[in-house]
Symmetry: C2
């Protein structure tokens, strides 16, 4: 075990689990401390079995390698439309060839008792179909965000999982990431005073001609939308988990260069504002054409707190500004992917609702639709 | 001359004048290099005479002490409703007692040939009356921002100065500040690529019970509005001078705690978005109740540029983020107050329109009224 792995191990066993538990409330604390989870530790056979559906860049570069840091989750099956890629990866990860599926025979996964949970990492518009098919095959589902491309699809996904008696969780990784969890805890403790504003910006260059992983992102039929659905959702979700509130009113402006072929179908730049019941306001941007940014700031009466980046994979920074100066708290980085997957496994093992269930995904989809509507109609939309 | 003064001297003579001139175009370059200004250097008798109207905190702590760094401007008269204060300050600044006026005898300033320019530093709603009276007394006018509390007043002020053949300039100090000028120059040179977004946040605690200077700021009749008129105007103006464009559409949300006595008459928190003709969007906030912040970021296709603070009196920071990393250019700080006042004096001496004339002030007032309207009606407002 190298020092990074050792730190991650420590984090999993101590800080992060406790932090996640603290945020999930007393029930979760009990869960973390329960005999079930304690006896399972380091017992590979008691890990739940996961199937990854969709073997794109995010799945192969971020999700699959991070099972190694999981306490309660192991990768046992793959689902892909590219048999050669799937076979190669199966060999690499020691996965039985019989546990490699394609999109036609996917439903036969119901006969594979090794698979407990299916992780959907497909283009947005396919989330609904594969979540529903997975639930009908008797599997629990972790689904990437945005949950779906319409509220209707979200509701169908929730219904299908409920009907099958299976858990549904949306992969809001930032809500399992130590810096964000620490920020939430500071806000709850009142360190910033009453929250007045959230600002958050998420942008990157989408490059469909250079990067295969970006091809579907500029196709409305697959992506459902542009920068808002893909990365603006981080700004939106952060505004919600940092305030702990649901927005009541939305305004927005959207602009895409009509001469840029990337934006024939999906939007480029989005500016939106949210109003929360407490009166806190959010002012957020997303873009597919500005130099990469992933940042958020919470403005409290007593202090502001920066996370920049707020939603990176491995590196975060926190800065807090108070009347008497600025500080940069150092928090132990953690493997948010492993934490997220283990939270799902624990939710299944303990028959508990995950912290970011289907209803959480539905809310963001509803608010994003309101943002599109506000921009289109040129008026604020109550949600 | 100490080292700070020496640096300022250097800056005035080299960097800042050149930067201001470059931005003002070829005409201004000629002006800076003209024999007139050259011969005037260090010739105190050729400085224009200024009267400061209103001896509040900003006038006495920022403006009056900074005449010492002016090449073309000297303080020769005071106007105040508090005779004792005015007399004390006159003595301190070596001003003739005959050049101390009150608000009743202010119009007799027309008979004082020592006064060329009147600087209005009164509560917002009084800007119109005193600008008009000063113009009618045959004086040029530098007026604090916001220019006035209605478009109608702004137009009356412009008309009065035109009719009297006098210059009118609005005190947008950030447009005479080296870091902001450097940012504008970088944008114009294309260093950031095409501009996609501006975000800017301006907040501070307004404390009318603790700070006399804040008493009028929470009174609608005097201030015209709350955080937007007072400090949100920095976010708005920055979005305009950084893009070099005029907005075409505005959305906004406003919230003030109904139980906070400070916000019985004026607004607290404002979130607004602007759309510019190029498609660039701005997403800005202002507040009277969050921990002090004065920051702006420009998001370009190739790089982003931070100014934090963007609108401080003496200290600024710039950070630029590109694909290959971040850099923090160090720019020589400059005395924006002296630069601003000297620009006004030079405009008068050379019979040129100032870079931030009445029309510039009118535009911001128009956009601020659109922001209020958008928030009130819950719809976007075309401007």
């Amino acid at each position: 075990m190298n020092s990074t792995e050792s730190r991650r191990q420590f984090l999993r066993q101590a800080g992060l689990s406790a932090a996640v538990a603290a945020l999930a409330g007393p029930g979760a604390v009990a869960a973390v401390a329960s005999p079930l989870t304690n006896t399972m530790q380091n017992d590979d056979k008691k890990k739940l079995g996961w199937a990854v559906v969709g073997l794109g860049k995010f799945a192969t570069e971020q999700i699959m390698p991070n099972f190694k840091d999981c306490k309660h989750s192991k990768l046992v099956a793959l689902v892909s439309g590219t048999p050669d890629k799937a076979k190669k990866l199966a060999k690499e990860y020691g996965i039985d060839e019989k546990s490699v599926y394609d999109y036609q025979n996917f439903d036969s996964i119901k006969d594979n008792p090794a698979v407990d949970i299916v992780y959907i990492i497909l283009p947005n518009s396919m989330h609904a179909e594969y979540t529903i098919r997975a639930a009908q095959a008797g599997k629990h589902v972790l689904c990437e965000k945005p949950m779906a491309t319409s509220e209707e699809d979200c509701k169908k996904m929730i219904d299908a999982c409920n009907k099958a008696g299976k858990k549904l969780m949306i992969a809001y990784r930032a809500q399992y990431e130590p810096y964000n969890l620490d920020a939430i805890a500071r806000i709850k403790k009142g360190e910033l005073g009453k929250i007045k504003f959230i600002t958050a910006d998420h942008g990157r260059h989408v490059k469909p001609t250079e990067d295969k992983a970006d091809v579907w992102r500029v196709q409305k039929k697959l992506a459902g939308g542009g920068s808002l659905m893909d990365i603006g959702i981080y700004s939106l979700n952060a505004a919600r988990y940092l305030t702990g509130e649901e927005p009541v009113e939305v305004t927005a402006q959207i602009y895409s260069d009509p001469n840029d072929p990337r934006f024939k179908e999906v939007e480029d730049n989005v500016a939106f504002t949210l109003r929360f019941p407490s009166g806190a306001l959010a002012c957020c941007t997303s873009s597919y054409s500005y130099q990469s940014v992933k940042r958020g700031r919470i403005f409290g009466e007593k202090a502001w707190l920066d996370l920049d980046p707020i939603s990176d994979y491995y590196e975060h920074n926190m800065k807090i500004g108070k009347e008497d100066g600025e500080m940069e708290p150092k928090i132990q980085e953690g493997n948010q992917f492993a934490a997220e997957m283990d939270h799902m496994s624990e939710s299944v093992m303990q028959n508990k609702t995950p912290r970011t269930p289907g209803e959480e995904g539905l809310r963001d989809v509803r608010y994003m639709m309101a943002i599109y509507e506000a921009a289109k109609k040129g008026k604020s939309v109550k949600v």
